[in-house]
Amino acid sequence: MKDRILIILCALCMLPVSLLAGIKGTIFDENNEPVIGANVVIEGTTTGTITDFDGNFELDAQPGQKLLISYMGYIAQTVAASNGMKVSLVPDTKALEEVVVIGYGASKKSNISGSVETVKADELPKAASASVGEMLRGRTSGMVISSNSAAPGASQSITIRGGLSGQKPLIVIDGIPQLQSSSPSSGTGYSGSDKDNSLINISPDDIESINILKDASAASIYGSDASGGVILITTKRGKEGKVEVSYSGSVAFQTIKDAPEFLDAKGFMTEQNRIFDELGRSAEKRYAPEQIENYVGRGTDWMKLVTRTGLVNEHAISVNGGSDKTKYLISLGLYDHKGIAKNNDMQRITGRINLDQQFGKYVKAGVNTSFTSLKYNDVPLGDSRNQDAALIYSAMTFNPTVPVYNLDGTFADNPDRPNTYPNPVSLLEITDQTKSYDVFLTGYLEVKPYKDLTLRATGGVDMKFAGADQYIPTSTMKGASLGGQASKQTNNNKLGIINATATYAHNWNDQHDLSVMVGWEWKKNMWDGHGVVANNFPTDGALMNNIGTSEAENPNIWSSKGSSQMASFIGRASYTALNRYIVTFNIRVDGSSNFSKMHQWGAFPGVSVAWRMSEEPWLRDQAWLSELKLRGGYGQTGNAGSLTGINTVYGVSRGTYVIDGSLVNGIGLNKLGNPDLKWETLSDANVAVDFGFFKGRLSGTLEFYQRDRSDVILTKSLMSYNEINTIDYNSKELYRSRGVELTLHTVNVDTKLFGWNSDICFSYYRNRTVRRDPDFIPAPYQDYVEDWGNVYGYKTDGLIQAGESYPYLPNSQPGAIHYLDINGYQYEDDGVTIKRDAEGRYMLSGKPDGKLDQADIVKLYNNTPIPFSFNNTFRLWHFDLNIYLYGSLNGWKQNDVLYQSSYCIADLTYGVNALTQVQNRWTYQNQEGVLPGVAEINSGIDPSSSNFFYERSWFLRLDNISLGFNFPTEWFKGYVKSARIYAAVRNVAVFTPYKGMDPETGNGIGAYPSQMSGAIGLSFKF
């Protein structure tokens, strides 16, 4: 293959040289820019040439001879030859019309009747984003992407249209669905952030376009895999006629954006003393007033010691080109992210070769191969406390009066409660590496035996090999107690797929356009893995790499293996009449080995219609209207739930009990099978209007949808006395999502010098449970039709003040939270049995009953986000500027850091640090204090079951400001096709009333702090 590419490269280089003297001329495009690589041929001969970098050609032709001038994407022209001739090419709008990938084929955008969104990868700001998921955030309405953590390479949850199905979207790369897999966990007490396992495997630079099938009328072609929606990714391919080398690179620096403020040493000592006073334990005070007074400095800033300036380096290079027979693209990418937590980094290397080859007239074949290597160095993260406290948690809360090291060089301990909390810096000694390799190999063979018929077969395999290694050395507290702990885990996943389609497409006089596709697909998923966790090592030196030296009596070992199969039949017919009446019908029939023989097969149809009103004769000539299309569709997709089997099975449990000092295994019933299980169904109805006004100055889409999820596979509780008291079943529950999505694209200013485009996305949806199982009994506070975003809890009214007491809060002294008793139950005449309403729900009396119980729980908030985004692109001369904002208009969130610091304020006596905010807690001396005092811990009620620490968390994030400069190509005398430098700032500012950490990623007290990144980058093509 290499040879062939070389030959092509040479041939291309030689062509301009081999010309003969004669006619000279220049070819321009519609903007009067020279066209490079246009074909100029003397009509009826094979004599010809292509234009050089300045659009010039020279051809041995006679003046007056007819020259055929052609260039991809432009209408071919026949012009009489004359010396010094100048030819302007006119773009071929028909050929340029966007083609949208819709699964097992493509369609012209104008002929689409389902709900399909397209994102061009080039339009996304790339700086400091490893995953295309991060870049897509807010780019399309109806798709919500949220990072679960701000750590490098952390997992994202992508939900399309409210995530009603509970499934991740199916990601299809060049026609092959990507393997869904998960990284192995370290298998020990410490773990890093959850890893992104899907979109991170593909280099954003390799992506040509992304299409999102949002509604089931479009997604049903992927049947039972598609209930979470489908993201179709098309990678870049080689283009005919020119060798193009592109490079892009950037470097970004990151700083912490949302570090909460904890007490410094003096504040800590003062507050600890005060807490002892407030607890009535003044005798245990540790600091004399003069000791605090004379303390020099702020103490140890643990956060500073475990964090650093993050650094992201990206490089991507690609070469593409080809002849009319062979086209290729080769790319290589490196993404290296040093996180803001020390020792936390992520590195990705991607490689790709896409190749297409035409064999003779009828046959075409190609391969797509990609390789991804991901390497993470993790730090322990999470919300664990005490011995297992992780890096960020520990750095926030560790005693600030303690130095990092003792005089003998060992890590200092917290004297207020020794041997309990790990020294934050010691946690940096933990080795935690995750590696994964993803090999994606696919090939296709396409045969066009007749003009309108295409037969295509694709086969592919996606293999992921992942391994997690961890070592907790004896210099850490946990490691010391375990004698060092090593863990090695592997997880391998393989997807084998083969499919074949036959497509017939014909256009009759531009009046009738018909496309029919039938196909078949077979898939097998295989997984296997194994792992060891052992402790008690003679030395720390070997880390996890000599695990056999463990003296552990009982190392934890496991392995597993399994597979499942699916076969499918697919079909689609699409018909367009007179360019304006469109109907599309999809069907997929899936069979899965996860179901019993009698329910193995499920059929998932989809139908959609569209009417391009703007093509009607009576509207076509309206200058103000450039596009008006009404669409409607209905479809179904399936879902096998989280189903693993339909069989009743036994399982071995390891080390269930100790006999004579040794662990023994047991075998017990694990699962009660339900052979009656069948597919869940997701039914979608969608109506939409696509519009464009004033020659596309204002265009957009407005969509309404309703999505129903029925036959929901749930785990039902059987009577609790049963040996296995749960079973998977198809419930009668019906979940419904209703929503509206608006996408607007406006061209605000468009002059030669200055341009300003905006994109606005907005979506609003509500997920509800609208029908329940017959035996469902709602809780007293629960509606029969229940909104998924509801947050329930007790109401509160500030704090209990001095002299106040409430009988229903017997353990709450002044300073504790004043939970409200607002309701009680209605009783039958016996005074004991609580009355129930028609739905079986306990009836409330509406009056306080002197008890704080379930009756007092009310709906506090609705938490469903209302996502929106606002993207602005400006150009001025050769500069471009992008300003991107996104956010959510609704949100309620518990301020976890404050909750933890405040509720556990008494832990200050153990040397656990708290937020500076806790200084404003209620005490007898500070009765104005707004945060609960030490009395709250004895209340017996967890404040997280109330609204006390909830805050509004709507937000507006200024996510990207990037300024680029496109070098005028003439500066490079045509040797460089394009060159751009840019500077970008990511996560510039967040506007929100929420006072905790980041409103999106700041979950829990040990959340990875979010970052602001400043990047500079360069890209060019030649």
């Binding site: 399994g562 199969q565 059987l718 009577m719 040996e723």
Partner: protein, 496 residues
């Protein structure tokens, strides 16, 4: 065109081959493959033992060392155990529970009651054993073990709640049908317990490796049940039968019983063997008590929570040898002396570290077996039964004094029956603290609520806000969730 032909041929053959879809998972054992052999029977019984483990924190097993643990919950609602960790332990210590609890104690009750499912599980295992093709001898043996385990859990449930619902075989055969079954009557429950334990007594061996069931264990379980029922005549006979086995004897030193180097001592009748190498089989009772800064084993960690309240400590005679493992002060590694004046934990009480040092204790995990029932309980029970059945006599005094002598105390002679019984109750407190027997002992003597009210009175005098309790608390409330689930076929314990 040849290509096309091949393509179509390949396609057709693959399509045909793909119609048979199957999945495999090597971590599963199919229903029809188990249990078959003698080893299968053993594995099935082992799986049942899981619920008696020591290292689970979420109530999955009943002998955890946190507040959910059977022994901890039983002792902490009495005068012998407390914790310095704030309100959760106070709710137990002052018995501040009602039927509709908002505090986490309702979760403990829930977890405890949920174990009534074990009776079904064990019953199914017994039936599977009987239906298997293993040799009859093996079937009898493992069935007897499963019967004993069922009796053990049956005792736990009865102790906490009184009779619970027990599903019939027909109901168990059809798990998909919702049967709303109520609690058994005392008589019905008695026949289930008697049947299970009698079968176990008849078919179990006298000796078995630690952890497996024996005749003596089954007899002791039945003894404990009879004591709770107040059937002291039957209990007396069982005590005599256990003694007659000749398997058990008192250890010369009290601390030997718990000594990790003397795990096989024949005072222990039933224990949950521990293994510190895995987190779910370790003994955490030491860590719960041990202060973090108290020097102990080389790699040990303590959490510094549980204490023996000073009021109870003070009822011991100073010469009582059983105080040897109860610490009133200690010196930290840095040389600081800690006592009730400068340690929050010691201000609550003394440290009942009766399990002693496991030199290999790593972190919070110790390898000491958790002692459940032992021979001195049989002796004291016999003394009590004789006194209750026929009045105090020298035989009864003899059994009591055997236990007292080992503790270095003088004999009790010539007490009237009432005083003798009072002495027995005090003796049992001193002998079995931290072993979870105190709750039933106080209930049997009618003093469970009375003792709690004494503590409540003292606490309220010092500014507390606790309500007084009644004998209703002798049984825990049935969690409302189970009553609701059964459509009220399960009735609440009277008084709640």
């Amino acid at each position: 065109m040849n290509t096309k032909k091949y393509l179509i041929i390949t396609l057709c053959s693959v399509i045909l081959a793909s119609c048979d879809l199957y999945r495999e998972d090597y971590t599963e054992i199919a229903e029809e493959d188990f249990p078959k052999t003698e080893n299968d029977l053993k594995l099935a019984v082992n799986a049942l033992m899981y619920e008696f483990g020591t290292g689970y924190w979420d109530g999955e097993a009943i002998y955890g060392a946190n507040y959910r643990g059977y022994q901890v919950m039983s002792d902490m609602t009495t005068d012998v155990l407390w914790s310095c960790w704030g309100w959760e332990s106070d709710v137990l210590y002052y018995q501040q529970w009602q039927d509709n609890n908002t505090s986490s104690i309702s979760g403990y009750f829930y977890d405890a009651f949920a174990h009534y499912q074990f009776l079904s599980k064990a019953r199914n295992v017994i039936r599977r054993i009987e239906a298997s093709s293993a040799p009859d001898e093996a079937k009898k043996h493992y069935s007897a073990e499963a019967h004993a385990l069922r009796g053990w859990m049956g005792l736990y449930l009865y102790d906490n709640f009184g009779p619970v619902p027990v599903a019939t075989d027909a109901q168990l055969n059809d798990p998909l049908t919702f049967n709303y079954i109520g609690r058994l009557t005392e008589e019905q429950y008695d026949s289930v317990m008697t049947e299970d334990l009698t079968y176990a007594i008849e078919n179990l061996p006298e000796y078995a490796p630690r952890g497996r069931m024996t005749k003596g264990i089954a007899m002791t379980l039945l003894l404990k049940y009879r004591m709770m029922q107040g059937r002291f005549k039957d209990a007396e006979q069982l005590c005599r039968d256990i003694i007659a086995l000749g398997v058990y004897s008192l250890q010369p030193n009290y601390s030997d019983v718990f000594d990790i180097t003397k795990k096989d001592n024949n005072e222990i009748i039933l224990c949950v063997p521990a293994n510190s190498s895995s987190s779910w089989t370790a003994n955490y009772m030491i860590a719960e008590i041990l202060p973090a800064d108290m020097p102990w084993a080389e790699k040990s960690t303590g959490w510094g929570g549980y204490v023996m309240p000073w009021a109870f400590y003070d009822t011991f005679k100073a010469s009582d040898k059983r105080l040897q493992c109860v610490y009133t002060s200690y010196t930290t590694a840095s040389g600081r002396n800690m006592d009730k004046t400068n340690s929050a934990q010691l201000s609550y009480g003394a440290l009942p570290l009766k399990y002693g040092v496991d030199p290999d204790m790593t972190g919070d995990q110790a390898g000491n077996d958790l002692i459940i029932y032992r021979y001195s309980d049989v002796l004291l029970s016999l003394a009590e039964c004789i006194a209750r059945n026929s009045g105090v006599n020298s035989e009864a005094e003899g059994y009591l004094n055997q236990v007292r002598r080992r503790a270095g105390l003088g004999d009790i002679i010539g007490y009237n029956t009432n005083d003798f019984l009072t002495a027995i109750l005090e003796e049992r407190g001193h002998e079995f603290y931290l072993e979870g027997l105190r709750r039933q002992d106080l209930i049997r003597f009618g003093k469970y609520a009375e003792y709690a009210n004494n503590r409540i009175k003292a606490a309220n005098a010092a500014g507390g806000n606790y309500y007084t309790v009644t004998n209703v608390h002798n049984r825990y409330p049935i969690p409302q969730a189970f009553i609701d689930e059964s459509k009220s076929a399960i009735t609440q314990n009277p008084g709640y």
